[in-house]
């Protein structure tokens, strides 16, 4: 009996490691190509051979990136905008999602659906009117303008996700807390929110990524090169037929690092295991 139970575990484990390694390799390969671009001298986008490290590899592009371009400025701007959007996103989505999950009110269904509809327009079509409107409000060329637009872009998904997650938490938990004398808000803040940690992580990551890697809106709003976020900065290495691939590749690799750091920091709560089983009475 005991032996029969063990074998499936080993098979399952081996299979799991195999799949994970395979997909990690697939995930890593193109990224490694980009690393190669950054190490190659001469702005060559494409390799003409399959090689692990390019010939004449050098860190020159990375050095040039930090010393000869405004890369540090762009990082600073992107961090400012993205972290603000993350915080607003988490705060607004966690509360709005809760409202949609727990309460019935007139206009609830329409509200939820209208959130979705905001995503259905091709962004390119909204550009010109948005530009005109932001000029009239004096928000062109400001961080605030970008932050507002990004928050609006990221919120629908975040609200829906938070709502979906709250839906899996039984209302009996809040009822128990209310009977004990808690206010609505305390029940929400102290009991439900911690349980929704994984969804908060998703919201945070998504909001961050929306602002961090977005280009189309940024290029309209942030005109002065001192305000440029990373996507705008990277674009300046581009020209339709003479892109500085070396710098672009180096920048792309560095750009990934804050995202990975954020993910590592937050993934503790993503797989928290802080499930209901431990809390239910």
């Amino acid at each position: 009996m005991a032996i029969q139970q063990k074998r499936p575990r080993i098979l399952q484990k081996t299979l799991s490691y195999f799949v994970l390694t395979l997909f990690s390799g697939i995930a890593l390969f193109p990224i490694w190509q980009v690393v190669n671009i950054s190490l190659r001298p001469g702005d060559k986008l494409l390799p003409t051979e399959l090689e692990l490290i390019p010939t004449n590899a050098s860190l020159n592009n990375f050095i040039r990136l930090f010393t000869q371009t405004d890369f540090l400025t762009w990082i600073g701007n992107s961090l400012l905008v993205s972290l603000t959007v993350t915080i607003t996103g988490v705060v607004l989505a966690s509360t709005a999602g809760y409202g949609f999950s727990r309460f019935q009110f007139p206009g609830k269904r329409i509200g939820l659906l209208s959130l979705l509809t905001t995503q259905m327009f091709p962004a390119t079509m909204l550009l010109l009117p948005m530009y005109i409107m932001l000029i009239k409000l004096g928000l062109i060329n400001t961080y605030l303008g970008a932050i507002i637009v990004y928050s609006a872009t990221a919120l629908p998904f975040c609200i829906w996700t938070m709502k979906g997650f709250y839906d899996t938490i039984p209302p009996s938990l809040e009822e128990a807390a209310r009977i004990d004398g808690c206010s609505h808000f305390a029940a929400f803040y102290r009991i439900i929110l911690p349980l929704a940690a994984p969804a908060l992580v998703i919201t945070a990551l998504f909001s961050f990524m929306t602002a961090w890697s977005e280009y189309i809106v940024a290029v309209q709003i942030l005109q002065d090169s001192e305000l440029w976020t990373l996507p705008l900065g990277l674009k300046s290495f581009e020209a339709s037929m003479s892109t500085e691939w070396g710098l672009y590749g180096a920048a792309s690799i560095i750009v990934m690092i804050p995202v990975v750091i954020l993910f590592l920091a937050l993934s503790r709560w993503l797989v928290s295991g802080l499930t209901l089983g431990s809390v239910k009475g």
């Binding site: 001469g42 390799p47 530009y131 000029i135 005109q223 300046s236 581009e238 020209a239 037929m241 003479s242």
Partner: protein, 378 residues
């Protein structure tokens, strides 16, 4: 604007502000396609930068959207006479751009390691390519060094061959496309034969592949534009530049498109600000700045006074570049040109991909161009 052009402009602007304390100049960089839309957007809202620098083909769009104003009333005739006529852009009866460089043209670039003397005609080009390929051998059916490589997916790179067989994009009125011609059919057959019959170009070559092959020394010659030559030289490749060789069959020299790149003036500049803007413009168009740009980028200048400058006369690459420019033909600035490019692309790619015959493609190109132009004007 390319990154290296941008750096030089930045230097020049800094010199200007150093010389003129109290004046602040802000330079905004945008990639060519983005620049055009951004400038039009800005003009619609009656704002935007005072000066815009870019290729001439954007001017047609700017004029149609009333984003730029005429310059012949602002600058006296003696000032304008300093420039070569190709540097002054007339359109619909007005001057809308003064160029500080001419170029953007394709030429034959060869790696002196493989080719010591530029081929004088296309038969020599094919012969040289085959010789090099034989000399350096093959691996799994593919030559280790291709004779020639070029971006044969883009119609812009097809123009030299089209003109080499006597064709041109527009008829005499300058706005009606003339793509369904015998010249088109011949040129399409010719470009295809370079790959399929003579086998001197790679199987699939877009811009980046062609560029990478030449940089890696896996192609002896490349047809590429003046923006790319400095990059090759920087990598240490000993390059030579020459006009694209004459087509023996027709006796014609291929004529790539050339365009000036220069400054236009926003229609919305206020009268109080105008003198200062013009002051900056004169500075950027001065001999000092043009010489600086020419030396750094090997672009062709527009000031007549520079043509006999000893530094430029001794520059081999620049002289060959000028020779190619003289054989070239100006890119039309009319908005209809966009429609023509987009009409040429599908048919051209279909022929190269083997999905269509040259005759059918020529016909479909012409029809598509006419339709797009009609749609644009509706």
């Amino acid at each position: 604007m390319r990154p290296d052009e941008g750096q030089i402009l930045q230097r020049q602007v800094k010199r200007y502000t150093d010389q003129n304390p109290g004046r602040e100049v802000v330079v905004i960089y945008k990639e060519t396609e983005v620049l055009r839309s951004a400038f039009v957007n800005a003009a619609i809202t009656r704002r935007g930068p005072d000066l815009v620098h870019g290729p001439s083909d954007a001017v047609g769009i700017y004029v149609a959207t009333k984003a730029v104003q005429p310059l012949e009333t602002i600058f006296p005739a003696e000032y304008l006479a300093q420039f070569d006529s190709s540097g002054i852009l007339w359109y619909r009866g007005h001057i809308y751009q003064i160029a500080d460089k001419i170029g953007n043209h394709l030429a034959l670039v060869y790696n002196k390691k493989y080719v010591q003397r530029a081929p004088q005609n296309d038969e020599e080009l094919i012969e040289t390519s085959k010789r090099i390929q034989r000399q350096y051998g093959y691996k799994s059916g593919r030559p280790n060094v291709y004779g020639l490589t070029w971006n044969y997916t883009e119609p812009f790179f097809f123009i030299p061959f089209f003109t080499g067989f006597g064709g041109w994009v527009f008829g005499d009125d300058g706005v009606t496309p003339s793509l369904q011609s015998d010249a088109m059919v011949q040129a399409l057959k010719y470009t295809r034969s370079l790959r399929d019959e003579h086998k001197i170009v790679p199987n699939e070559a877009d811009y980046e592949i062609a560029d990478a092959l030449f940089k890696d020394g896996k192609a002896a010659m490349i047809i590429n534009g003046d923006w790319s030559w400095a990059g090759y030289a920087q990598l240490g490749i000993d390059i030579g530049v020459a006009p694209i060789p004459k087509i023996v069959k027709t006796g014609l020299w291929p004529a790539p498109m050339t365009s000036p790149k220069g400054f236009s003036l926003n229609s919305n500049v206020s009268p109080e600000k105008l003198p200062k803007v013009l002051d900056l413009l004169r500075f950027l168009l001065s001999e000092e700045c043009e010489l600086e740009t020419t030396k750094a980028l090997n672009t062709a200048p527009t000031l007549k006074s520079l043509y006999n400058n000893p530094l430029l006369v001794k520059n081999d690459i620049l002289q060959n570049s000028l020779a190619q420019i003289r054989l070239g033909r100006s890119m039309p600035v009319v908005p209809e040109m966009r429609a023509v490019w987009d009409a040429m692309r599908p048919g051209y790619q279909a022929v190269m991909g083997g999905a269509s015959t040259p005759e059918a493609a020529a016909k479909s190109m012409q029809q598509l161009a006419l339709r797009r132009i009609r749609e644009m004007n509706e």
